[in-house]
């Protein structure tokens, strides 16, 4: 079966009063990797979901091949050879990979018995052809993020899809895994498949896309072929300008830092063993000076999350010393720590925001009743106004529900809460995990500026990010974590390849 051409013909999609996609035109063709980019809330995911039949258009037509996709359901789409890989994996954690693969399309023998053997045969054949290797008998929750992603793609292929639409597939992957993914996608495209990818990372577009569609406020503002490897007709600046609808933001200026600045954050021998007896942190030592930004790189799952949680005081089993200024935090509660250590955990949905509470409530979450020595009681209204203004949160309405804001503005809330509370100067530190994950270019620039400003005011900052470009741009120093240890310290001038090697544990040549 040839891969279908998917054509969106003046497609509009509304959610109540809100128009997510407005009269959009796009053509996804076989043999190409088609990147869809834009800010948060620009309508990228909605466009993809319309193409995959997950959402029905409010007006306009989705054509698969020559005929309209009707009814607009995922089942019909997959029947016509169009499959979608969602941003959040849709896998049953307790099933084996093979069981997840065949879920909904189980081959059966007589009396309704599952035909695992033929499913395995078919899956293996696809895996061999495409190079999407997944341990089929492993329980899904034991798989790495990259393996789960491959499983999702394999599942779509297993169902017979020749057009594969992926929603932010690299958001959760390490740079190397992302490269691997694109290699696979390239092979599929060369084999004649139709590939569409929604992404935030413009470097991916530059390196891998054949064609790019830029969306802004629900409209397609740019749709062009895009020659790979930077020799394109559209330069990065043009792309950024199209996404932002104006000039790209000013480049980030790393704040200057005195060489002999005082040590503010001191971590010594921080160790953590989880409930299953696994050592998550192995005697982590790290010192951060006044006004310094230290970036922590590492492949996901090498102790970065545990480090942040242990610093925040959320891991009572952690041992070792954590001090900010001359204040020993190791035995203090979460609440006591946050007066001098601002923490942003990596998943703002799980552990950062109360989506159904107001923006105002979220901005002061945990601050109520805070009283510093001798200071007057916490002034909630003033804090909300100040935090909204300082971090430019849109819309500037504290009575809105936080869940109604775009991802970028939600992230600004979380960052504002962590940074604004800290006293300026050498007595505070901030630890920010994935500060701009899933955040659009404009909001990311605003968050980077806020981080720079915090460091300039003397706060010691630690940033953990899967985005190496971000670390190289912000940090004075990059340390690499592997298997719960800090294994190497690099300058931000190190190349991504060098950092990548350290992350994987390969000796530098």
């Amino acid at each position: 079966m040839d891969a279908p051409v998917i054509r969106l013909d003046a497609v509009t999609r509304r959610f109540g009063d809100f128009t997510a996609v407005s009269a959009a035109e796009a053509t996804l063709s076989p043999g190409e990797i088609h990147a869809i980019v834009g800010e948060n809330g620009a309508g990228k995911s909605t466009l993809l979901k319309l193409a995959a039949g997950v959402l029905a258009p409010s007006a306009g037509r989705v054509l698969v091949g020559d005929d309209a996709l009707s009814p607009a359901t995922p089942a019909e789409a997959i029947r016509r050879g169009v499959g979608m890989v969602h941003q959040h994996f849709m896998l049953v954690a307790a099933f084996t990979a093979l069981e997840n693969l065949m879920l909904g399309a189980e081959p059966v023998r007589s009396w309704g018995r599952l035909d695992l053997a033929s499913a395995r045969e078919k899956a293996q054949a696809i895996a061999d052809r495409t190079g999407l290797q997944v341990p089929l008998d492993a329980v899904t929750e034991t798989l790495s993020v990259g393996e789960r992603q491959r499983l999702e793609i394999l599942r779509v292929l297993y169902r017979g899809a020749r057009a594969i639409l992926l929603d932010e597939p690299t958001a959760v992957l390490s740079p190397l895994e992302a490269d691997e993914l694109y290699t696979t996608l390239r092979a599929l495209a060369d084999d004649g498949a139709t590939i569409a990818v929604v992404t935030h990372r413009l470097d991916e577009v530059a390196r891998f896309a054949d064609r790019v569609t830029v969306m802004r406020r629900g409209k397609v503002v740019l749709a062009r072929p895009y020659a790979r490897a930077g020799a394109g007709e559209i330069r990065g600046g043009d792309l950024t300008r199209a996404i932002m609808g104006g000039e790209p933001p000013l480049p980030f200026a790393r704040p200057a830092m005195a060489k002999d600045a005082a040590i503010v954050l001191e971590i010594k021998g921080l160790s953590l063993t989880d409930a299953g007896g696994q050592r998550r942190l192995r005697a982590v030592d790290l010192t951060v000076r006044q006004g310094e930004i230290v970036g922590i790189a590492g492949i996901e799952g090498n102790g970065q999350s545990e480090l942040v949680r242990a610093l925040a005081g959320l891991e009572p089993g952690a041992t070792g010393r954590v001090a900010v200024g001359d204040r020993d935090l190791s035995r203090l509660s979460v609440r006591a720590r946050r007066a001098s250590l601002g923490v942003v955990l990596e998943d703002r949905h799980e552990e950062g925001l109360c989506q159904e509470a107001t923006v105002g409530d979220n901005l002061v979450l945990g601050d109520l009743g805070d009283r510093r020595d001798g200071a007057p009681a916490f002034d909630e209204a003033a804090a909300i106004t100040r935090r909204m203004q300082r971090f430019d949160i849109h819309p500037a309405d504290p009575a809105r529900l936080a869940g109604e804001l775009s991802g970028g503005n939600q992230q600004k809330i979380v960052i504002a809460r962590a940074l604004d509370r800290l006293p300026r100067g050498p007595r505070s530190a901030a630890v920010l995990a994935q500060p701009t994950r899933g955040v659009d270019v404009g909001a990311a620039a605003a968050i980077h500026a806020a981080i720079g400003e915090a460091a300039a005011s003397g706060i010691a900052v630690v940033i953990i990010s899967a985005d190496l470009a971000e670390l190289r741009k912000l940090a004075h120093r990059i340390v690499v974590m592997r298997r719960g240890e800090i294994v190497q310290s690099l300058s931000p001038e190190a190349t991504e390849t060098e950092i990548g090697r350290a992350m994987l544990g390969q000796e530098a040549a």
Binding site: R14, F15, A20, N40, G41, G43, K44, S45, T46, K49, G53, V54, A56, P57, S58, A59, G60, R61, A68, L69, S70, P71, A72, T73, P74, A75, H86, Q87, H88, M90, A312, G313, L314, S333, V334, R335, A336, R337, R338, V343, L345, H349, E350, E351, G352, L353, C354, Q355, E356, A357, D361, L365, G366, D367, L368, G369, G403, G407, R417, G438
Partner: protein, 368 residues
């Protein structure tokens, strides 16, 4: 498919009232069907039910009386629910609280002035209700035992504990306590509004309404209440921001139990003057439905309680023609109808094609 009509703008005022109107229409229809099955002419039962409830001052008084404990138990459920807890234990908390209040009220010195007597009785009941709730609260906060299971089990324990206590410790032959001292009896409403003469409504009803707004203010305006609500929305985020989640959960559960225990104000102090086995039974479970119908609004809870109170009183009014259990059927139908109507109202009415949801809710960034 592409011809899906645009969503028509809804009249903004009618929309939120639609579920209530649909439910009302539904129960009137159902009442007629049931009474028809018992050989009644159309509308006669409805007329009878209305006459026995909102038709006379006495009927109104009885409705207020029946609604009062429901407001308490609904508020008890509401507080826990907003904190992310399901307190199914109001049944046991009401019963044990009522017993404690009744016993204390009976053992006060005969001449105790009423402000003191009532305060002591209510405190005893509330503290006992909170005490019953303390067990599941601690089990949940410290050990992670789910409160649905522990509160349901506690209801059963209280159920057998009550007759045991009455017979052995309290030595009551008739499975009831001794009458409370005169000072502990609540003022009947007919002393203020003579028209309500003979009905059992007491000042417990205005107290309950006041409490409904008090609870709302607590959840909206105080630090404690707001943190409880935030925990109900996302406990992990609250823990990460240094809010003492365990402590707040225990507090929410204790407050919930205390309010359930205090429902005895209506039953014991405002009506019987003593506690007897079975008094207030069912109020705990009905309160859950009232809280859910009230949709988190204090006035909503009061109105929902009045609706259920009306149905209970109407059951007595029509009992001669149609079994009063018909009203229980209606109460159940109300819950179903409102649930269905709410779901239906949440969707655009013009949606023709079936909505196919993705396998799991990818709710966040639905618009990105």
């Amino acid at each position: 498919m592409s011809a899906t009509p645009d969503e028509a703008p809804e009249p903004p005022v009618l929309r939120p009232l639609l579920p209530a109107l649909l439910a009302l229409f539904g129960i009137i229809l159902l009442l007629n069907l049931i009474s028809f099955a018992f050989g009644q002419a159309p509308l006669t039962t409805l007329r009878l039910a209305l006459a026995g409830t909102w038709g006379t001052p006495y009927g109104i008084g009885q409705v207020l009386f029946k609604s009062t404990p429901l407001i308490f138990t609904a508020l008890a459920f509401e507080i826990a629910l907003r904190s992310g807890l399901f307190n199914i234990g109001a049944e046991g908390q009401v019963a044990l609280g009522s017993l404690a209040g009744g016993v204390v009220g009976a053992h006060l010195p005969a001449g105790t002035p009423w402000p003191l007597a009532i305060t002591i009785c209510v405190l005893a009941a509330a503290l006992t209700g909170a005490g019953v709730a303390l067990i599941p609260a601690v089990m949940r906060a410290r050990l992670g035992v789910h409160e649905i299971i522990s509160t349901i089990m506690l209801n059963r324990i209280v159920e057998v504990l009550l007759p045991f206590l009455l017979v052995t410790v309290l030595g009551a032959a008739a499975l009831r306590t001794v009458e409370v001292v005169p000072g502990a009896a609540l003022l009947k409403l007919d002393a203020v509004f003579p028209a309500l003469r003979g009905s059992a409504a007491s000042v417990a009803f205005p107290l309950a309404v006041g409490l409904a707004f008090g609870v709302d203010a607590l959840l909206r305006r105080t630090r404690r209440g707001r943190e409880m609500r935030w925990i109900g929305i996302n406990a992990a985020a609250c823990r990460a921001e240094g809010i003492d989640v365990s402590r707040r959960l225990v507090q929410a559960m204790l407050l919930s139990g205390a309010i359930a225990g205090a429902a005895m104000v209506a039953t014991v102090l405002g009506y019987k003057g003593y506690y007897e086995l079975g008094l207030g039974a069912g109020a705990g479970f009905t309160g859950i439905a009232v809280a859910l119908l009230g949709r988190g609004h204090p006035l909503g809870i009061v109105i929902a309680a009045l609706l259920f109170g009306t149905l209970q009183q109407a059951g007595l009014a029509v009992n001669a023609r149609v079994p009063k259990e018909a009203m229980d059927v209606l109460a159940a139908a109300v819950i179903l109808l409102v649930a269905v109507a709410n779901r239906a109202a949440a969707k655009p009415l013009t949606q023709v094609t079936p909505v196919v949801a993705p396998p799991a809710p990818a709710s966040e960034e639905a618009a990105s």
